[in-house]
Subunit: 215 residues, 2 copies
């Protein structure tokens, strides 16, 4: 019964999260709806955060699928970045009403649902692989110096866009889409310009900074 129970609790939790949001979905409601005792949910999932983490993984997978089909179409860095990020906005759209709650939970450093947490490694890898592909298979090619660091920077940028999205109250999250539509070509242009001697120094400094900060 264990595996069955675990996946039953998970699917019930995800359904309730989707229907009611984070705060309105109590652990008691999840357990009751799944037909198990409250404590049983805790036997399978260490905390409510861990259930949110399951939702996060779910949404990441949806995003990955959509993004893969965007990336399969080729294109330059700008087009690919725009496509992947807009696919992200779409994947998240369903949750915008509760998005704030979820991101709040996810951003807490100790949280299992944090994009940086060990528990989230699966979704993090999935997502970061996306951005590696985005950069590496772009044509025309991204300058070699940038190729190592850019994927992670873009992944961070996506987290930033998500944070913006949380605060975006415009209908259909139009402002977030505007941000992506504007930022993608801007980043594409800066990457191209990084080859120029005037900017080469700034680009090198930036890469050095990223490496210094990481260690």
């Amino acid at each position: 019964m264990s595996d069955d129970t675990k996946s039953l609790v998970r699917s019930t939790a995800l359904r309730l999260f989707r229907e009611r949001g984070y705060a309105a979905t109590t652990m008691r409601a999840i357990a009751q709806e799944a037909g198990v005792a409250t404590g049983n949910a805790y036997y399978h999932f260490a905390s409510k955060d861990h259930l949110v983490q399951e939702l996060y993984l779910d949404v990441t997978r949806e995003h990955a699928v959509a993004a893969r089909s965007v990336l399969a179409q080729g294109g330059d860095l700008t087009a690919r970045l725009r496509g992947v990020m807009l696919a992200g906005v779409d994947a998240f759209a369903e949750y915008h009403a509760f998005g704030a709650e979820f991101v709040t939970v996810a951003i807490r450093p100790g949280s299992a649902a944090s994009p940086f947490s060990a528990e989230s490694s699966e979704s993090r890898e999935l997502s970061q692989a996306l951005f590696r592909d985005l950069v590496e298979e772009a044509s025309p090619e991204v300058p070699t110096v940038l190729r190592d660091e850019l994927p992670e920077l873009l992944w961070l940028a996506q987290l930033g866009v998500t944070l913006f999205w949380v605060y975006d109250g415009s209908p259909g999250q139009r402002r977030t889409r505007t941000l992506v539509e504007g930022a993608a070509p801007l980043i594409g242009r800066l990457v191209r310009l990084s080859r120029l001697p005037v900017l080469r120094g700034a680009a090198d400094d930036m890469l050095a900074l990223v490496r210094a900060v990481r260690s």
Copy 2:
């Protein structure tokens, strides 16, 4: 007694927050330590978040004082930005152990302690005025095109640095300081370069984006 009680609750809460952090400071403990009933704290402060907001205001004020004395020394954009941001890291340093909790609370869109909330307008204004001064009184002067938008962008950058700081587990938050030491000259350089014809287009696009996204 009302005003007395209110400020007593506030100072007790702030003391306990400093001593024990956010989660370990219960509303009951605050009330008990202040010698009032639990419900009384709620009569004066709508929620625990509102008490955190008081702490946020306190820290912002400390930062403003330190930053003002940095700005009084003149200097170029890089030096001023570096000084103000490092003063911020210092002002926050005392809370790093609990910083994660506080920022988590502060970032929740509905929270009173959110930097974007109506309740935080006082600290937000205080902080944004700092960055306006930082930009406007810098010498050599910041290019005119940038002068309107740059202060708010730098204020947002400071929020970003704070977010980084939350996740920074290095001793003395060395990585955050490294980030500031590296980012300040980088931003200074990019601002100077924005005058060049090659970058002028990118700079204009970025400003247009900021304006488009804001509305």
